[in-house]
């Protein structure tokens, strides 16, 4: 495998006194798409929030493109090229589509490049740049989220349950877009999901998360992927 872009070593973290993530190791290489699968309450979102610097890291270390980010603030981590798509309240509802994207642009990333990326992935958004994000439909908001993360020239995407409430047709389109953009700029992608078909279609590897610990992993091309994941997340 090629160069590691995101490395998580022995990470424990959580809220206040409560440890949610326990001694977790994870490495994502450039151009690799990895999905963390688990039921609700198993610490998937907590993992992303810890990586992003929102939650204190009790122990362990995290590095992004060889920079230690264990003690960094969210904005510093974002500026190292990490685009984070949270599950909830991920858009500024009262700002326009354009403003939502511009907010994420830093330094080198130019608005023209961003527009080019949007044109490639979600051309319909270009017609609606001046519309308030809150007036978009649920599915369109999800696409705006993806557009934002793909247009900032990030090296690494962290995406929290993007398929929640999405139409299947849109999901398959999303798979295509993520893969194309990965191939285009050698992105590392870490997804958190419960959607088995999406997981299988989009990712190279999957990791099963159980009560804050990794309880299994595999290659999504393995034939038993669906059964393994289903056994993990369904009743």
């Amino acid at each position: 495998m090629t160069e590691v872009v995101l490395a998580v070593n022995g990470l424990s973290s959580g809220y206040g006194q409560a440890t949610v993530i326990r001694n977790l190791d994870l490495k994502i290489a450039r151009g690799e798409i990895v999905t963390v699968v688990g039921k609700n309450g198993m610490g998937k979102s907590t993992l992303l929030k810890s990586i992003m610097g929102y939650l204190p890291k009790f122990s362990g270390s995290v590095s992004m493109a060889q920079h230690a980010i264990t003690d960094s603030h969210p904005h510093q981590i974002a500026r190292l090229g990490v685009a984070y798509v949270p599950q909830e309240k991920a858009l500024f509802q009262d700002l326009t589509v354009e403003e939502n994207i511009r907010l994420a642009l830093r330094g080198s990333a130019s608005w023209n490049e961003a527009k080019a990326a949007i044109g490639r992935c979600f051309p319909f958004l270009l017609q609606r740049l001046q519309q308030k994000a809150g007036t978009l439909s649920g599915g369109e908001q999800k696409m705006l989220l993806m557009a934002r993360s793909l247009s900032v020239g990030a090296k690494m995407l962290l995406i929290d349950e993007i398929t929640e409430g999405m139409q299947p047709s849109i999901i398959s389109n999303l798979v295509k877009i993520i893969k194309t953009e990965r191939d285009r700029s050698d992105l590392g992608v870490l997804l958190v999901e419960q959607n088995i078909p999406f997981t299988r279609a989009v990712s190279d590897r999957y990791v099963l998360l159980d009560k804050g610990e990794i309880s299994g992993s595999g290659n999504t091309r393995d034939p038993d992927t669906h059964e393994k994941i289903a056994a993990h997340i369904c009743l």
Binding site: M52, Y54, H73, P74, H75, A78, R79, Y84, P86, K89, A90, L91, F92, Q93, D94, L95, E99, R102, L103, A104, R106, R148
Partner: protein, 278 residues
């Protein structure tokens, strides 16, 4: 009727000028800057210094902005920064800072009233009624301030970042916005605006170490009923300022003096979000 109407509009304009800096700080940082009055005083003395140095009275305004900005930035760095999670303590600490500003001014100048040349004197005729030119100019200033701040918040990337921090700070941080820096800049700007307001009211006010304190409670109440919107602040200034003018006119100035505070308290009791939409 015309004079009362003009009084109403100019009073609203003055209140808007006096409160906008406080609103900016409250909107972004969710804390009340009780040093606002002290910073206004500082602005008044900037105008005094402009007069003393023989400069044009208009120079006092940018001078006040610089003074207020510098003092505000240092206050944010040294004191306010550590109180973001203790909003009630922040009120007390900034009140303490206000005392410090007042005492330093007293030590440097003295306790007395000082002279600042007004930028303009005289009256002009509005619909046959002579009216203070300067008060009318303050309407223009208030509009300028409102439009300017709105444009700054909407048109610049810093403004966009500031609005983002107001709306959802965590999300903004995740997009690479240094919210600490945004807060610093906001507090500096809010302090600068307070000082500018102080300089702007010198033609109507005495310049002494307590000059800003008289305005603090009104500004504070207006901001509380306005939430974090410049637009609501304009509405609140007109409604509450108007009520003050009307009450003063028909029920006496003593009751008029209590109008803003009492009315705001009642409005907040009935409608906790005040004049803002949320």
């Amino acid at each position: 009727m015309v004079p009362v109407l003009l009084d109403l509009i100019t009073t609203a304009a003055i209140l808007y000028i006096v409160s906008s800096g406080l609103l900016l700080v409250f909107g972004v940082m969710k804390l009340i800057n009780f040093a606002h009055g002290g910073l206004m005083t500082l602005g008044g003395y900037a105008a005094v210094m402009a007069t003393a140095m023989g400069l044009s009275p208009w120079i006092g305004i940018p001078l006040a902005a610089i003074f207020g900005g510098i003092v505000g930035l240092s206050m944010e760095r040294v004191v306010v920064r550590s109180l973001y999670n203790r909003p009630l303590d922040a009120i007390l600490a900034t009140w303490g800072l206000s005392i410090i500003i007042g005492q330093i001014i007293t030590l440097v100048f003295d306790r007395g009233v000082h002279f600042a040349e007004p930028p303009i004197r005289g009256v002009i005729s509005i619909l046959g009624e002579p009216y203070s030119t300067y008060r009318l100019i303050l309407i223009a200033f208030a509009l300028l301030l409102g439009v300017g701040l709105t444009l700054a918040l909407r048109g610049t990337s810093l403004g966009l970042s500031t609005r983002a921090v107001i709306m959802n700070e965590d999300l903004a941080r995740g997009l690479g916005i240094n919210s600490g820096l945004v807060r610093s800049v906001t507090f500096t700007l809010g302090s600068g605006l307070a000082a500018v307001a102080g300089a702007l009211i010198t033609p109507l006010s005495s310049v002494d170490p307590n000059m800003g304190i008289a305005w603090l409670i009104s500004a504070f109440m207006l901001v509380l009923v306005s939430g974090s919107s410049l637009y609501s602040l304009a509405v609140a200034s007109i409604v509450l300022g108007g009520a003050q003018v009307v009450v003063s006119n028909y029920f006496g100035s003593v009751l008029g003096g209590m109008t803003i505070a009492a009315l705001a308290a009642v409005i907040l009791r009935i409608r906790p979000q005040g004049f803002s939409y949320e």
